[in-house]
Symmetry: D2
Subunit: 405 residues, 4 copies
């Protein structure tokens, strides 16, 4: 009775999406195309191909997308100094639009009617996948098994796997208590003991960074070169966006940088607790602000700061492929034309400290004007009187009115 | 010829304002009232009284304003998670409105015609003093000697002091190369070698904090109790606002927390470089966000985040005593009614880490809904489908229109 | 099997909600409480009681809520100069929160488990009713028959009515082609020929206003007295909020004022075309801006203007009972303390023209400063030079940087 | 002693700027270059050349800039639906950047050191001229005679003219009581009896429009074709931007459209009262919103609405040539790609009524979804339940928390 003949599944090769693969065929009687992407999550994607083949999939997409991810998603987002709710670097959120795009494109390439994903009905990821897919393929159908099926516990899932010849790695009860997600920008942890917001995560949970305590006793200095708001070289070595992220992840991770423990507000209406490691991103945010501080006009910087929370919410909520995000991006990108130069940083036991910034071409820092020494007339201090008097005028008229009553 | 008969001078007791005191009398033939406030700058104010007396001042105001400063200025500002240009905790800016208010009030009490201050014509402080004074005493006159006189170098100032019997402490050439400002919230450094934004500040510059390197190898844990967005107790001990700041400054300073090195945009139109130590404030910002993350509605939190940059600019630019700041404050304060509970923090070598947050009365964290486990129907995952479908509708209509062309 | 024992129905007495009444009993086997409110829609509510009695309803609420509606909903909204999408005065939107509140309260009073309404699944009203009800009674259940039943056409509805002994007034096919909604603030028209946005509404559609062509050839002048942003008297006669609206509706309607023809964006994701008559509201908006122009500080006015679109969207989307609307309202209300005085208007053939405004207590218009004549030193024109120079400083530094390259 | 050798004067040919011309030579001993532009003010510019020649000016620039003004300033501003303080169409403000640009360019062409203008020290125009000039020629000097000289009354000005052989047209005391400014977009009136905000302007003041009372008894219908947010044809006739404005001014003026009587907040800190006639602009604003209502995505439209007040203030305050205005313009312009189609309007005695809008290429109005009739499944009403439930979730959690206390 279903009209779905072929579905493109975002397939990790793990238990959950393997179960989904079988369940889709069984429930919808449809063919399944698998799509597995390497976006820097740190796990091999080759096994996913083998598993898909073993499960009889005929059309298998396995793709290395690290550069595209870093260049077209992560870097543009960092141009805005993006933080959700003041702290979250959006590591999960920013990876979804790329997956959604490829799902939609592969659906077109394979003449599939639908896409499917393994995100639950409680989280933000379902929204991000589906809004993206609908925006790019408005006629697509979406299957979200977690919202449909009755496999509502891990036990039921394992039982389903066993009865459907899906290989289960490891034994029951041995897996991590955390729900994790990783890509080139970050790794996240949710669930399990973290569901108590008073619980301090145990050291063993963190996977990408050493603790500040375990970090080296000597600081690491580094210099980042910027062109149009993007890092193009580290310590003088020209690097691609993905290589920049990789190197900063390594340096940050070694120095205990980038851990975050947060209660955040999901788009679907609830609060949730998440822990994140974003070593490279943490460095990038700090450095980018420093580069902008030297090269961006004040009002441009302030405009960006005022628009940023909205831009961050758009990404968090899954609206990357919306026209309003696109317009904001154009404004943000245009602002970066002058964000060129070098930032010098010190990394030390969890701290990222800016220790220098310079721009041969675009510095707006005018030492001859700013100086505390004599400035030879570069700035006329008497101008300040008129500036203040006229800025005060409305305040004085307000106050005089009250006095006269 | 001047119509100024009496002027209230913001008097530190130092060389500059002592010179100003003499210069005011000489230039304007007016009487001078001195006002010296202890707002936690860490220097004794008693000597200022002695010096004023020695200089023949008849009306001398020396006031301890630490509690008022913390309670009515610092704490309200932190309710907004205020950061100027993404990083600056506004330590200098927030102290000026209180000084401006007392200058205006003392002018009224002493029937003075004018106020005077020792801020230069290049900085933000002149604006903050004067906008405040004009807003509270619209008929007041303002004398800003640095904008008027010809004592445009330190040498000339010293010569003036010597020829006018003003005692100069220390010899020529021995003072700090930095222009500093301190109060209960922070200490700042500007000028000298910092005028090169590529220059890394030397360790000896910093006065309030040890370096992360020199901080203890053991972390410090602490618990902060909040009521209506304000810290009311530390580790269970009820403390006044000033005592909270004092204690957090001590704990932060010992753990290498709160250093900032920044290029910022002044209201008068130039970029300047400043270094700041705000140990207690750095802890407060992090903890307050954590307390809000548990107790504040999502849209309220986002509204606050979007208004914050404007609120920060108002304070930075000197508009504390404006009606628009007052309105924003009312909104911010009203939002804090539910910000009650406890935050647990770990301080370690420059890092402030939130390791727990709880609120017995106001937590909006609903574990039964957020859980990754079965939720017994607390949340209906099928609701997400309609939620996404309708949020996607406009995107799909947009996309269909393009397809049909 | 349903757990719903009693439901409170928003009951107009018309065909649709009478069918719903029967359908609820039949489908849910539940008792129905009816709630009918007079909010100025211009139809008698007494017949609704008789009809409910005839249909065997035991608990019948019929309430006159015009004053509450005008005072607690319409007037607060107009303090913000609220317009949705630049034009719509939110006449329908603002009535829903009051209905939602009474539904929730009556559910509590009658120990009902659920509420029900006659809004369709395509419009904004369902959202407004339900968000309000959930916010005030988080445990309530909601029944929206139009989303559930199969009576998807007028024919089916009429057949259902006939087979269930529901009296149908008028014959099939004679009703208005428009879907209408009215209350003390406005009447709206949707559907039918309006679904073609190129179609010009016929004159016969409009019910509250004469056309500008048919309006009197002589203008009507009137004076509105404001206290704290609200109109308290017209032409010197003190009037309650509802009486103010009534009188302005009459005066506006007679003078052809307040018609609007709009394509708007619904919260559920589609565009729709609506025509509105809001004669009193159109006058109020124009007059309130005029009163504020004289009595509101510039930056306060601008802050309100920047927040207004968000505030309007909150009301349009149904978030009246949200904490963020409440916070914005507090800011808006606080801003109105000085909005006192009188506005003089001319009404003429569709035009509302402000011809005078004055405030004995709160005018910030300072003629001695603003005058084009000599001002005897009230304003020092030389202050403007410094004001401009410092506002230009960053622009000049930017430009000099480009020149030097 | 002056370092100014040559100055470019914005020269109207009238008494004031003729006096300035002489005064500049006398005061600064400098050569004067005159610049006179036709931007549609409705006065011949040729006489200005003759007068300048008679006054011995050697370098005379007289330029026809109507098309440039309409195309590069007026049209881009209307893409944003720009209103200052909710009502003012910025007719004066938008002309200044073009004058400032030409002054700066002519200064470069003629190797002048300075520019001069005839704006007073109290108004906004001085700011707009000078910020523009400084942004485009950061090294330029500015002479604003009204801020410098002692010709502070009309009498003194006339005496100066007589003693310096400057021809004065008309006798003393016969000129208009209003200070006026005109260009292709509007004419403004300030001063004189308007300085009493309770005074209703007399009919004789208005110059461009007939009163609604005097307008024809028959409506005028017209159709405007839009391409990328700009009007490109009226009633099917392709017209240049200036011709569009001219024609709409004529049609609007004949139909009594576009009068505005306003108290506004100047950038220099005072309130002032102005009356404006903007017949074409009033039509354009209404029509553009209608075109956007059909073709612009909801969130794009809302983003524009939220940014508009800031954009309007930038123009009003003189920041056209700032980087932040430029960035906002890029966002606004990019949003207009889909604003294509036709708007049908009715003009009648002061009213502009939209009576139809269509877009063959870009309409986002989906009648099959919006319809009140059966939609054959185009929209699934059941989706609304989940949409509302998840949007309500945070409100319900908030409310449940309160209940549980």
């Amino acid at each position: 009775m279903s009209t779905i003949k072929k579905v493109v599944l975002a397939y990790s090769g793990g238990l959950d999406t393997s179960v989904i693969l079988k369940w889709l065929r069984e429930t919808y009687g449809c063919e399944v195309v698998t799509f597995t992407a390497d976006i820097g999550q740190g796990e091999e994607v080759a096994p996913a191909r083998a598993k898909a083949e073993a499960l009889g999939v005929k059309e298998i997409y396995v793709e290395e997308l690290c550069e595209e991810f870093a260049r077209d998603y992560v870097f543009p987002m960092f141009r805005a100094n993006t933080l959700y709710e003041g702290e979250y670097l959006l590591g999960t959120s920013i990876a979804r639009p790329l997956i959604a795009k490829r799902l939609a494109e592969i659906a077109s390439e394979t003449s599939a009617d639908a896409i499917a994903h393994g995100a639950t009905g409680k989280g933000n990821d379902q929204v991000r996948f589906e809004l993206g897919a609908y925006a790019l393929r408005p006629d697509i159908q979406v299957i979200a098994p977690w919202r449909e099926w009755d496999l509502t516990s891990r036990e039921k899932l394992l039982t389903y796997a066993e009865t459907h010849d899906i290989p289960v790695e490891g034994k029951r009860g041995t897996r991590s208590p955390y729900s994790m997600d990783a890509n080139l920008l970050h790794i996240s942890y949710e669930g399990g003991p973290l569901e108590d917001p008073w619980f301090e995560p145990e050291e063993a949970m963190w996977r990408w960074t050493v603790s500040p305590e375990a970090a080296p006793n000597e600081p690491t200095y580094l210099e980042l070169d910027y062109r149009c708001g993007d890092i193009v070289a580290i310590n003088g070595e020209v690097l691609s966006p993905a290589k920049v992220l990789e190197m900063l992840n390594r340096l940050g991770g070694e120095n205990g940088i980038g851990r975050l423990d947060l209660v955040e507000n999901r788009y679907v209406g609830m609060k949730s607790r998440g822990c994140y490691e974003t070593p490279g991103g943490t460095i990038m945010l700090k450095a980018h602000r420093a580069m902008e501080s030297l090269t961006l006009d004040r009002e441009v910087a302030h405009l960006k700061d005022e628009l940023m929370p909205r831009y961050a919410s758009l990404i968090y909520n899954g609206y990357w492929w919306s026209p309003e995000r696109s317009l904001l991006q154009q404004l943000i990108d245009a602002s970066q034309a002058t964000v060129n130069g070098t930032v010098r940083l010190k990394l030390y036991k969890g701290n990222v400290t800016v220790v220098g910034r310079q721009s041969k071409t675009d510095s707006l820092f005018a030492p001859e004007i700013a100086t505390f020494e004599e400035d030879a007339g570069a700035y006329n201090q008497q101008d300040a009187e008129g500036f203040i008097k006229l800025n005060a005028l409305r305040l004085r008229i307000d106050a005089l009115k009250k006095l006269s009553l």
